[in-house]
């Protein structure tokens, strides 16, 4: 081969299902798309700690508290795996955190909804983590190596998240009438926001085409959403709860459920910063970041001093 055409090599790799690694040549737009997607994913994990973190001090038993602490800690870990995956593409941690804290960066719209009752902790683990898993299982085979490897690790950790949430829901759904009502209320409020997690319908999804072409995504938003509904329905029926959707019914021809689309105007409003909790989430992140500044400063000063002593010795 005379002159190497990097673009052709890149395309050939994708066609063979080969994995792209940080030092490989890649088109600028592929890099940009990944930085945006991975950093948003990382922010979602970090902001995702807040709605559940809200219940740690009020968990109804020591067991529930330990479980919730472990889950929220995992989500922090997920954020860290993803931040370093994004850094391997040439962005920095500081840049990403700055974008999050100033409100420039986006994160999953779902975390801008409030966790009003203990049942919400169950609904979040069961539905929100369940939807995230569906997306993340696909992303284990994404074309960018560090992202794929982060996803493999994350998926291993996620299944406990969903199971603990469903277990909590079973306790409430088979508990007192008041508890069952609380479970139903949580399902009513989380159902549509969860369906939004898969992103806008395929016909109006601006980023999907490239993501599919580059094998960053391997299934469309609508395909994942459909699979989620199909998988979740038996779980809802087992609990004896009712989906807040009168149009939802089994469609024998497509071997799947027909269901109503979520309110996409609401979705856009939440993404734009006008959801019920956007301001609160951003304020909480900013507060803990600035309250932790002295720790980072002290650690940096200590490391610097140690380095100096080491060089002097």
């Amino acid at each position: 081969m005379g002159v190497v055409n990097f673009e052709d090599l890149f395309e050939a790799k994708l066609a063979k299902n080969d994995i792209i690694e940080p030092k490989d040549w890649m088109p600028d737009n592929y890099r940009k798309h990944l930085i945006r997607q991975i950093s948003q994913h990382a922010h979602s994990e970090i902001v995702g700690m807040l709605p559940e973190g809200n219940w740690i001090t009020r968990a109804p038993s020591l067991r529930a508290k330990l479980v919730l602490l472990a889950k929220v800690q995992d989500e922090g870990g997920h954020g860290l795996y993803l931040y370093t995956a994004a850094e391997s593409l040439g962005t920095s941690r500081d840049e990403m955190l700055d974008a999050l804290l100033t409100g420039k960066a986006k994160y999953s719209s779902i975390f801008n909804y409030p966790t009003l009752t203990w049942a919400d902790v169950g609904a979040v683990g069961w539905l929100v983590d369940g939807a995230a898993i569906m997306n993340q299982v696909m992303l284990q085979r994404t074309s960018y190596g560090p992202y794929a490897r982060a996803m493999v690790r994350i998926c291993k950790e996620e299944s406990f998240h969903q199971r603990q949430g469903y277990e909590l829901m079973t306790h409430l759904a088979f508990g007192t009438p008041a508890q069952k009502e609380m479970a139903q209320d949580a399902l009513n409020r989380w159902w549509y926001p969860t369906l939004m997690m898969f992103g806008p319908p395929d016909i109006e999804s601006p980023n999907s085409e490239n993501a599919l072409k580059w094998r960053i995504k391997r299934e469309t938003n609508d395909e994942l959403r459909q699979r989620f509904v199909n998988q979740t329905m038996p779980q809802i029926e087992y609990l004896g709860l009712v989906v807040p959707d009168k149009n939802l019914k089994w469609n024998e021809a497509k071997k799947g459920y027909d269901f109503s689309e979520p309110d996409w105007t609401e979705f856009k409003a939440v993404i734009k910063g006008n959801g019920p909790c956007n301001k609160e989430r951003l304020a909480s992140r900013n507060k803990s970041h600035s309250e932790g500044a002295w720790v980072r400063e002290a650690a940096a000063a200590y490391a610097k001093k140690q380095n100096e002593n080491y060089q002097a010795a």
Binding site: A70, Q73, E87, A150, E157, R296, A299, A303
Partner: protein, 96 residues
């Protein structure tokens, strides 16, 4: 932003069981080696994933580059005599 950083990047290697090789499992930010080791424990071994850890400053890693892959590894490509199957061993002498 400015000088409020997360510390330098470290690469983390974990040994699953005694006797097995250390395998790269990811990276993290930390200010010094002690913190890097503790963060590695909290981040990468929350479920018994290993019993020993290495942390190495990422800046200390030297790596080959994908563009040179062909020529860099080329010297071994034509040396089939480095493989056991290159040699003919008569039948009847048992496994070798």
């Amino acid at each position: 932003m400015s000088n409020d950083s997360q510390g330098p990047l470290w690469e983390v290697f974990v040994q699953k069981k005694a006797g097995q090789p250390f395998v790269h499992c990811g990276n993290l930010h930390a200010y010094d080696k002690e913190m890097a080791l503790q963060n590695a424990r909290d981040l990468y071994t929350r479920r018994g994933e290993g019993m020993a850890l290495w942390v190495v400053p990422s800046s200390a890693i030297v790596s080959s580059s994908p563009e040179d892959m062909g020529s860099f590894f080329e010297p071994s490509n034509d040396k089939i005599y480095r493989h056991p199957t290159f040699y003919q061993i008569p039948d009847g002498v048992g496994h070798m």
